[in-house]
Symmetry: C2
Subunit: 216 residues, 2 copies
């Protein structure tokens, strides 16, 4: 059976690997599973065929035989559960790694995404700068807490896990903001994630899609 | 071994069951697991002893012997994985139920939480009403998509699951907003969740904490 995921034909991040297919590609690379990619456009992802797979009209989706999944966290978990390499085998350590998956997506990412949305949607509003500062304060609270917890460790809880994979991709969204600079251990953590061979393979694969779409 | 969770000594929602311990209580009631509750205040939840359990200084936490977890989604998943009643036994159906757990927390809840945060933090700003309308438009997009997917079904994918448990608690946050009124199938879905005996037991238990704190 071939795993097929969906990704943007032309990612709005211009190949920086911030679209969510990157998270799934990285997970599949970590566990050594080959996959195929079906590209969608902003138009086709709102059409009934895609909505049947992804009710919110987003990417990525995941298909493997009769199984169709959506939602990045769920797909990464599915991959991690079925193949060695992304979750510890010890039951308690596994539960803690899953905790970090949810924490990265539900506690750390929301204010970061909100800041991103604000820079798109509210840039022309006269409140833009004041709100941006409020959001950055909210982000700093989370970064300070995360930095304190990570301390001098390489990863959030023992060996690299799907929780680190998601957290690194969440923190990467701040790379151009300067907000990570105040937390050297978090910057080093992100760099450590990006140095993994599986990350690099995933990154190159998504970049190749953008580059080929741009030169077409 | 006794399961111990944390909850607010005096919940800011005044016992309406919107604090996140409600989700964990409901899950434990669905699977028939007894649990104890340790109450924290806004002061004690920021102290080192609680931060060691919950790095972001929030509730709930979950302790069972040597295992300590945080993050509601992860705790509900842990409960669902260890006890029958919240995840289907068929592997594909189980993966789809987990998809809805992530979708409720990562796709549906964020704009709802953002609206809630705005009503607390930006109420005195001159942009407040304009931003509130923008956020409500974002919420309506998600509700329309969810309503279309649910259609006439009782639950999101076959039998009631942890995905429904989380989605119902997410949608409940809109109860006083009027935003659910345009989607009768979603209102009925929330009512269906609240009619479950396990929901009622969990709700009564969290309300009893608030009532007793208020009369103390």
């Amino acid at each position: 059976m071939t795993i097929t995921i969906t990704a943007f034909e032309k990612s709005p991040d211009r190949g920086r690997g911030l679209a969510r297919d990157m998270r799934v590609r990285w997970a599949l690379e970590e566990v050594g599973q080959p996959y195929e990619v079906r590209l969608v456009t902003f138009k086709t992802m709102k059409e009934p065929a895609h909505i049947a797979l992804q009710p919110f009209g987003q990417i990525p989706t995941y298909q493997d035989g009769d199984l169709a999944l959506f939602e990045t966290g769920a797909i990464v978990f599915h991959v991690a559960e079925r193949h060695a390499g992304l979750l510890p085998s010890d039951a308690d350590a596994r539960a803690r790694a899953i905790t970090w998956m949810f924490a990265s997506l539900n506690t750390v990412e929301p204010p970061i995404l909100e800041r991103e949305a604000t820079t798109y949607v509210e840039r022309d509003k006269d409140w833009y700068h004041e709100r941006l500062l409020m959001l950055e304060d909210r982000i700093r609270v989370r970064l300070a807490q995360l930095s304190r917890r990570l301390a001098e460790a390489d990863w959030l809880d023992g060996a690299f896990s799907a929780g680190d994979l998601l957290m690194v991709t969440v923190l990467r969204r701040l790379e151009n903001s300067g907000l990570l600079d105040a937390y050297p251990n978090l910057s080093a953590y992100v760099a450590r994630g990006k140095a993994r061979p599986a990350y690099k393979r995933a990154f190159d694969a998504q970049l190749a899609v953008f580059t080929s779409a741009s030169s077409a």
